[in-house]
């Protein structure tokens, strides 16, 4: 019994330090599929909401034909409506050149008066990636956005955007970074 106590304390300490060292392990895996093929996966942090829309037909006001848009995964922390992380695998985007054009298009859709403040090439999950950050305005609030393009294996690219409205809780950035740390190709 006397021997058991120090061992159990050691095991408990090791378990606590493991949990502290790997907070990203506490997520729930979500796999992005398109036309039946798994493209990438990521972990949703605890106490985050997931909105998954499949491929759907949209018709804009004053347009005559509906068009299909691909699946989109949206993530938001529970109880916060000023943080959004979205993931999509756009069709017809298979290179950084096409991805850059896609990025330049999406800014005005997300925010008004979008201005890019920084851009860099980096690697995410071991794959070549590009990150573009900037600011804009939406619903009367200043909005920071970070768009990420990841060159996953195969002819598709993963695109993600994180939107942070002014006044958001900075602590939520740990969860956002954990989402990107958990990103994996599903191929």
């Amino acid at each position: 019994m006397t021997l058991f106590r120090p061992i159990s304390r050691g095991v408990m300490a090791a378990a606590i330090s493991l949990f502290a060292a790997f907070p990203a392990l506490s997520g729930t895996p979500v796999i992005y599929k398109d036309q039946g093929k798994a493209l990438f996966q990521l972990d949703v942090p605890d106490f985050w909401n997931v909105r998954v829309g499949g491929a759907r037909n949209l018709q804009a006001p004053q347009e005559d034909t509906p068009r299909e848009v691909p699946r989109l995964i949206g993530l938001t922390p529970e109880g916060m409506d000023d943080v959004f992380v979205g993931f999509i695998a756009p069709r017809q985007v298979s290179s950084f050149e096409q991805g850059l054009a896609y990025m330049s298009e999406i800014g005005p859709h997300l925010v008004r008066d979008a201005e890019v403040s920084s851009s860099e090439r980096r690697r995410i999950a071991g794959f070549p990636a590009m990150r573009v950050a900037g600011t804009g305005r939406r619903n009367g609030k200043t909005v920071h956005f970070t768009a990420v393009l990841i060159d996953i294996p195969g002819p598709r690219m993963a695109f993600s955007v994180t939107v942070l409205e002014a006044g958001h809780d900075p602590a939520v950035l740990d969860d956002v970074n954990a989402i990107y740390d958990s990103f994996r190709s599903a191929r």
Binding site: A60, D82, R112
Partner: protein, 92 residues
């Protein structure tokens, strides 16, 4: 008698504790009214993208599902917010 008093006291303490904890819990539902616009905006971006180039050859035939689908497409439960940005009409 003494045991009954102890049980009654334990039940009373448990009831009071659960009521206290329930008062800490916010019963309201947090909406995604604000973040929903960003979700919809990402969809509108894809909507306004140029048409894909015409594919050569015949597309593969779709497999016939074992269970027949009901006629008509189901209505999506969440209608998207209108786009805040409308690019120039894309070439046809």
């Amino acid at each position: 008698m003494r045991q009954f008093r102890k049980s009654a006291m334990a039940i009373g303490v448990l009831t009071a504790s659960s009521l206290f904890l329930a008062s800490c819990d916010d019963a309201s539902v947090y909406g995604g009214a604000s973040v929903g616009v960003y979700y919809d905006s990402m969809m509108w971006n894809d909507y306004y993208r140029p048409y894909p180039p015409p594919s050569h050859g015949r597309p593969p035939a779709k497999p016939v599902p074992p269970i027949a689908k009901p006629p008509g497409r189901p209505v999506h439960p969440i209608a998207p917010a209108p786009p805040i940005h409308r690019p120039a009409p894309r070439p046809r």
